[in-house]
């Protein structure tokens, strides 16, 4: 079966498993995004896990500064189910872009999200509620305070002369 056929089949299965939780489905190049409301995130994640999506490939946060929202996505797939392994699904939610934006942690569902949620916390300042150990992982604490991957953190390019 080609990958696009499997994708279609998996999308149908997700729709029937998640039911009303699904707020929208978008097909992108190489993955499918399933939107849910933040309060349904943990429930949706548990359902996806019971379908066989057993690990998180990437916790992907995008700062959509114009729309004043954060896009928080979990790219998940499967190691144990060879058919599901061919598909990458992004479980995503949109939260408003505040200084202490909050979203429930999915580390309890997928242990593989643990370090990546810490990374999203330090770079975007998103607080993952219920995370067992939420603190910076790559950055020094004073740098993490600046939330460097937010779009309003602008890197100043230095010239060749120091003034």
């Amino acid at each position: 079966m080609s990958n696009s056929n499997i994708t279609q089949e998996v999308v149908e299965r997700i729709k029937s498993t998640l039911g009303d939780l699904v707020k929208g489905i978008e097909e992108h190049k190489g993955f499918v995004t399933v939107y849910v409301d933040p309060e349904n995130l943990v429930k949706a994640a548990s359902l996806l896990k019971s379908m066989g999506f057993d690990h998180v490939k990437s916790v992907t946060v995008v700062d959509r500064i114009k729309e004043k929202v954060f896009h928080v996505g979990y790219h998940v797939s499967s190691f144990s189910d060879p058919e599901l392994a061919k598909v990458v699904v992004e479980l995503a939610t949109i939260i408003s872009r505040e200084d202490d934006a909050k979203v429930p942690s999915l580390t309890g569902v997928w242990t593989s999200a643990e370090f990546q949620e810490r990374e999203a916390y330090e770079f975007f300042g998103i607080i993952f509620e219920g995370h067992p150990d939420l603190r910076p992982i790559l950055l020094a604490p004073d740098v993490a305070e600046k939330r460097p991957l937010r779009k309003d953190f602008v890197v100043k390019e230095e010239g060749i002369y120091r003034e």
């Binding site: 992108h28 190489g30 990437s58 770079f123 790559l138 460097p148």
Partner: protein, 414 residues
């Protein structure tokens, strides 16, 4: 101050054999390992010990973080390639390829067949070199100095092949959107066959001196066991995952470039211990040798000097560019690349790098720079092993486990 823990009071800190040791409770010590190059690159593990048994381990990463994701948002599409390949310079083709593929997905193009074969050729040369590097570092960890010298010497064979093909020993910047930057040189196929013959012989010697060495086996067998279920739960990748009995390799699961046209096996071991992880790498080198032999054979049968760059870019190239390709086998970068605009959209691409699956999420708003580049490297995924697998082992097993994971800080920190 004495150089051991005798007579230490709770809360006191001493430097013992270069390690900072703090007594945090009666018979409980906190030991800082690193960050000055405990293995390959700077990282630190804070371990808490009850006697010599690890009760808690806290990997402290980020000492070589270079803000790759942030810098990518301010660079033109093509300039990101030399930036990201610095995460794992020896594995440059594997590390940059999914980025290039993601950009190609957004552009809606696929490179010509010859370019795909050339990409696979360099990817597999990189994989062999990367595994040899990892095995050498593993040797250092175990105090086996021969196993450090041999793979580092033999790695040179593959680094030189890469140099001959691309012009650079490391950081080749070889795949670019639409194709590759150089054709296979004259005589390269024979050099690949010679290297493969040589390396097979050497791997047999590695087995005798290292993998079947009774001392090494005692230190690795049953040490750092990651059961299949735990490996899946932690989301570890690459040889470490396959050593735990999971048959997951992106080259099989979602074949990219021309991997579906090549014959190779995916070595899987059930034991999940440090020895199995070492064996997976050896077996994978054998498979990669088979692949590069197949690839050069296919490349020899194709017409030379064409099929290196997609027509979308190449059709408009001035005559000088085509002359340079004919004479030198070199694809000059077209000016259009510098100010390339990529259509609006989101793309996800994955590839099997030497240390495991690497993924890119690329988002374009139609501009000359990406809106967002997200990269998750295999070493960052594997770092979680330190936290969840080390506890329960003796401190003396830490180097064996660390070495067997083939953890590479510059790649993890990005």
């Amino acid at each position: 101050m004495s150089s051991d823990v005798r007579g230490m009071s709770v809360g006191e800190t001493r430097r013992i054999h270069g390690l900072e040791v703090k007594k945090i409770a009666r018979d409980l010590y906190e030991v800082f390992i690193g960050p000055q190059h405990p293995g390959s690159g700077h990282m630190r593990i804070i371990v808490r010990l009850d006697g010599d048994v690890i009760v808690e381990a806290d990997p402290d990463l980020g000492y070589v973080h270079r803000t790759v994701e942030k810098l990518s948002e301010g660079r033109q599409w093509i300039k990101i390639i030399p930036l990201i390949e610095r995460m794992a310079i020896l594995d440059a083709c594997n590390v940059t390829l999914p980025y290039v593929e993601a950009v190609e997905k957004l552009l809606g193009i696929e490179p010509p067949e010859r370019a795909k074969f050339l990409r696979v050729l360099l990817c597999e040369i990189n994989r062999i070199a990367s595994h040899l590097y990892g095995m050498g570092i593993f040797g250092v960890f175990l105090g086996h100095s021969t196993m450090y010298m041999w793979p580092f010497g033999d790695r040179e064979v593959f680094v030189e092949l890469a140099e001959w093909l691309t012009g650079a020993r490391l950081t080749h910047s070889y795949p670019v959107p639409g194709g590759v930057r150089r054709d296979m040189p004259e005589g390269f196929a024979d050099a690949v066959r010679k290297a493969a013959r040589y390396m097979r012989k050497r791997l047999e010697e590695y087995r005798k001196i290292f993998l079947d060495n009774p001392v090494i086996r005692r230190r690795l067998e049953g040490v750092g066991v990651i059961p299949k279920k735990l490996a899946i739960e932690l989301g570890i990748v690459g040889p470490n995952l396959r050593a735990s009995g999971v048959r997951y390799d992106v080259r099989i699961v979602e074949p990219y470039e021309v991997y579906d046209e090549l014959e190779f096996e995916v070595p899987v071991f059930e034991e999940g211990d440090a020895l199995a992880r070492a064996w997976v790498r050896v077996e994978e080198i054998k498979q990669s040798l088979n692949i590069i032999e197949q690839v050069v054979e296919r490349l020899e049968k194709m017409p030379k000097g064409e099929g290196l760059m997609h027509d979308r870019f190449w059709a408009k190239a001035p005559p000088l560019f085509k002359q340079v390709l004919q004479k030198e086998g070199r694809v000059k970068l077209m000016p259009i690349m510098a100010m390339l605009r990529v259509p609006k959209g989101r793309a996800f691409a994955r590839a099997e790098a030497g240390r495991g699956e690497i993924i890119y999420y690329v988002e374009s708003d139609g501009g000359i720079t990406p809106y967002r580049v997200r990269v998750v490297t295999p070493s960052f995924k594997n770092a979680i092993v330190f936290k969840h697998v080390l506890p329960g082992h003796r401190l003396a097993d830490l180097p064996a486990i660390y070495g067997s994971i083939d953890y590479f800080p510059p790649e993890a920190d990005r």
